[in-house]
Amino acid sequence: MSDGDYDYLIKFLALGDSGVGKTSFLYQYTDGKFNSKFITTVGIDFREKRVVYKSNGADGIAGRGQRIHIQLWDTAGQERFRSLTTAFFRDAMGFLLLFDLTNEQSFLNVRNWMSQLQMHAYCENPDIVLCGNKCDLEDQRAVKAEEAQELAEKYGIPYFETSAANGQNVAKAVEVLLDLIMKRMERCVDKSWIPDGVLRSNGHSSADGLPEDKTQETGKCSC
């Protein structure tokens, strides 16, 4: 899984109150495959998944495929003991902000998480997808879809109702986040704004990779 055969390594961080289902969400996204690497000494838990991203160029021609190695970081429960600090946020390129549709307080706390993100992430408007999780528990719902949608619109971020239990919209939410990030990268010809370690392009030459790969455009970013 961790071999170097990819074009970009992108780190996502799952955030939200304790118990909203962050770990289950990531587990569901990685097909339940147990790639979880928990490093006790450093308190990082992350899962990995490979995807191929095809951009749709403005000219309507489907772009080449880029092999993305996604690392999904979990807070591993440490947010119960301490507030997460700058160092935790700054390495992530995109954020999955989860709340629990059956727990109103977790929804109210989305505002706090947003201000934390605006303060500590690598920039003031990082790419975020808001997920109302546990949508399978419809009879226990405490947050209306419209309320959540309204909040997401206020922040200008996409909103999905997800279920880590049955998989609904889980992959969709991650795909949309990846798309936001890839679009941001394409907008920035000069990628020097991306902080160290947030996005690592692989030095691997992709000449022997996917046939549509253009080596001059991949693997050359030294950020």
């Binding site: 304790s18 770990t23 308190g43 003991f81």
Partner: protein, 129 residues
């Protein structure tokens, strides 16, 4: 075996066993171990007095917690207190196991050992501050 150990070892080990047993079963009961002069530093955040300490400890957001003590050390202090350092692991709800360190200063007041100072840290090393 306990009887052959120095008295500060017995006091410290007895406190540590009692403290984590209460913490893991019913945190509210920890109130008996602090006084209004007690200090707690929890992940760098300070709390003084029984009420403030108990508010922090009882509001930690989890249902279940289990502590497992790896090692503990105890010493007598010049003013007849006992200082104890604990290294261990904890598991909260369904989260992965995490390491922690905790330090207690135990003081005898009216023939009862209470905790006058308490410092807690998770053993995590991926932070800048």
């Amino acid at each position: 075996i306990m009887e052959n150990k120095p008295v500060w070892e017995q006091i410290g080990a007895g406190f540590v066993q009692h403290y984590y047993q209460q913490f893991d079963t019913n945190r509210v009961l920890l109130a008996d171990l602090y006084t209004d002069a007690s200090c707690l530093t929890w992940e760098g955040q300070g709390f003084q007095g029984k009420n403030a300490i108990m508010e922090k400890l009882t509001n930690l957001p989890f249902q279940k917690i289990q502590h497992s003590i790896t090692a503990q050390d105890h010493q007598p202090t010049p003013d007849s207190c006992v200082i104890s350092m604990v290294v261990g692991q904890l598991k909260v709800d369904d989260d992965p196991v995490m390491g922690f360190h905790q330090l207690f200063l135990l003081k005898n007041i009216d023939n009862k050992w209470i905790c006058s100072n308490d410092m807690f840290r998770l053993a995590l090393h991926n932070f800048g501050c």
